[in-house]
Amino acid sequence: MQAIYEKPETFIDTPTHFCPGCGHGIVLRLIAEIIDAWGIRDKTIGLAPVGCSVLAYNYLDIDMCEAAHGRPPAVATGIKRVHPDHFVFAYQGDGDLAAIGMAEIIHAANRGEHITFIFVNNAIYGMTNGQMAPTTLLGQKSATTLTGRNPLNDGYPIRVCELLSVLEGSSYIERVSISSPENIRKTKKAIEKGFKTQKEKRGFSLIEILSPCPIYWRMDPNESMKYIDEKMTQTFPLGIIKNWKQEE
């Protein structure tokens, strides 16, 4: 008998606090799979943000550090400078990275820090009952945009990848989604490219992952995946936005 599907060793066997249909479990598992496959558990340090994924350190069996809201890029910088040959990644949500922590991510990119950022964009503040995020779509309803996001009052959804791609310090930037098995495979490949970018000391890498929040989107999990494909990708088109190597 051959096992074709197993729990990664780095993924701790424990119930998670995530809501049904949430995307965080999928993304964290992908990270664990990569750490196992590359055999880098002993030289990887992860950063957990403030928000739904703060408890990531309960699910990944590696050294991990919590950071204040929005500050993972600064904390990761401090860690990477002490351990320049370790893999350092920061796991951040949209509120953490693109609202309160926008200055930190821009300057980490600008310094070309050899760190991989896993940016999970579900267009909502899940932890605090579903308020508008910087990436909330125009017209999307939330606890603080009851009639839908109105650009005249609330501004526009921020395209983080495109914003960071114009900085000379950023090296690898890709936007993916986990809306289907095929897209999940692409997401894993993108995260691997991010890890490769820091392994080869080619600078800053960021993978934006469009991920569902069925609870605060007021949808069932299937509808949520469809929403990613049909709505979110209109505002946040998938693909490699910046690459240090054009062809491989």
């Binding site: 558990r41 340090i45 350190y57 050294d63 401090g78 860690i79 351990h83 370790h86 821009i106």
Partner: protein
């Protein structure tokens, strides 16, 4: 060998001596000599220097390097230290050792860039959110700046707690001879809690989040017992001319330098003036001040603030003798004459007081 350095430069070099190899800063007057010095000195010792995008980023970079086991430091002045308070609370909550230098300037708000001691409350009463303390050391000379910064790294590691150096624009910018007498540290022992990659061991997590009900209370109790231990072991103060003093001055930092001049000038008079100079502002030398208050006629706290440390002096004295206050605010620095006048004002109008006034040149 003695060198002529500013207090800011002495703080930077002392950190290098103590094995600090990670410095993150942001420009702000009057601490600029410190960040400037670190920018060329760190590369010489293969250390890290980053001019951060903000005070907030700087303190969080310190957090990262501290979590990874490195000796790390940041420095700023009052408005910048306000911005760092969130980070300092997280450092305390994650029990991470680091050193933060505050070269105080006048406030509130943007205030001015001259010397002040108005950040005392912020420094010793918490500053950020939650029940925590940082160890606060207050140098009153350039040499002492060097000595205290060096010790600060050991204290931080010993207790896994942030240490704050509370200076001011005068201590930071005046130049005095300074000697680095202690060992130049390069290889420090590994820390058995730091993030180094989980090689042949269980994972480690640095965090301050305790969402399970009851866990946070247990953690807070642990913190409080650590603070108790620090209070028992680490109080430092200097007492000058203290025995049989009629008036005991209580002052730290720049104010204490001026008070020393008052003590020195009054030395040959019948009227005795003593000085208690707290070197650790937290933990505060409460017991010593209490004991002395039973012997003195009164105490006079002198500060460059509207009266902050005086509250801790009163809490220590608990009414055993009157506690008076003299302070200047907004960048004002008390003169020795002003202090003498205040002493005369609060003392019985006897012969000694008259002599004192004459001595000070007041008619």
């Amino acid at each position: 060998m003695k060198q002529l350095l500013t207090g800011n430069e002495a703080a930077a070099e002392a950190a290098i001596y103590a094995g600090c190899r990670y410095y993150y800063g942001y420009p702000i007057t009057p601490q600029n000599e410190l960040i400037n010095y670190m920018s060329f000195r760190m590369p010489q010792v293969k250390g890290t220097f980053i001019q951060a995008e903000s005070e907030i980023a700087a303190i969080n970079m310190v957090y990262g390097s501290a979590a990874a086991g490195g000796r790390s430091m940041t420095s700023s002045s009052s408005p910048g230290i306000s911005l760092k308070q969130e980070g300092i609370s997280y450092l305390a909550g994650s029990e991470l050792p680091c050193v933060i230098v505050n070269i105080q300037r006048g406030g509130p708000g943007l205030g001015d860039i001259s010397a002040s001691q108005a950040d005392y409350f912020q420094s010793v009463k918490g500053g950020g959110h939650g029940d925590y303390h940082v160890i606060v050391l207050a140098p009153s000379s350039v040499q002492e700046m060097a000595d205290l910064v060096y010790d600060a790294f050991d204290l931080a590691d010993k207790y896994r707690n942030p240490v704050l150096i509370l200076g001011d624009a005068q201590i930071g910018q005046l130049m005095e001879p300074v000697e680095f007498k202690k060992e130049f540290k390069e290889n420090l022992p590994p820390k058995d809690w730091a993030l180094t990659g989980a090689k042949n061991r269980n994972k480690r997590v640095i965090k301050s989040f305790y969402p399970v009900k009851g866990e946070l209370e247990v953690f807070n109790a642990k913190l409080q017992s650590k603070y108790k231990e620090i209070e028992n072991n680490e109080i430092r103060y200097e007492a000058v001319n203290i025995h049989k003093a009629d008036v005991i001055l209580v002052a730290y930092g720049t104010s204490a330098r001026i008070c020393k001049e008052v003590v020195r000038k009054s030395n040959h008079l019948k009227f005795r003036i003593g000085l208690i100079r707290p070197i650790t502002l937290w933990p505060f030398p409460t017991e010593f001040i209490r004991n002395m208050s039973e012997r003195a006629r009164c105490m006079l706290t002198v500060e460059m603030s509207a009266g902050q440390m005086v509250e801790d002096v009163r809490l220590a004295v608990e009414g055993r003798c009157p506690v008076h206050f003299y302070g200047r605010t907004g960048g004002g620095v008390p003169t020795s004459l002003e202090i003498v006048k205040k002493i005369v004002e609060i003392m019985p109008k006897n012969k000694a007081a008259k002599t004192l006034l004459q001595f000070a040149g007041v008619k």
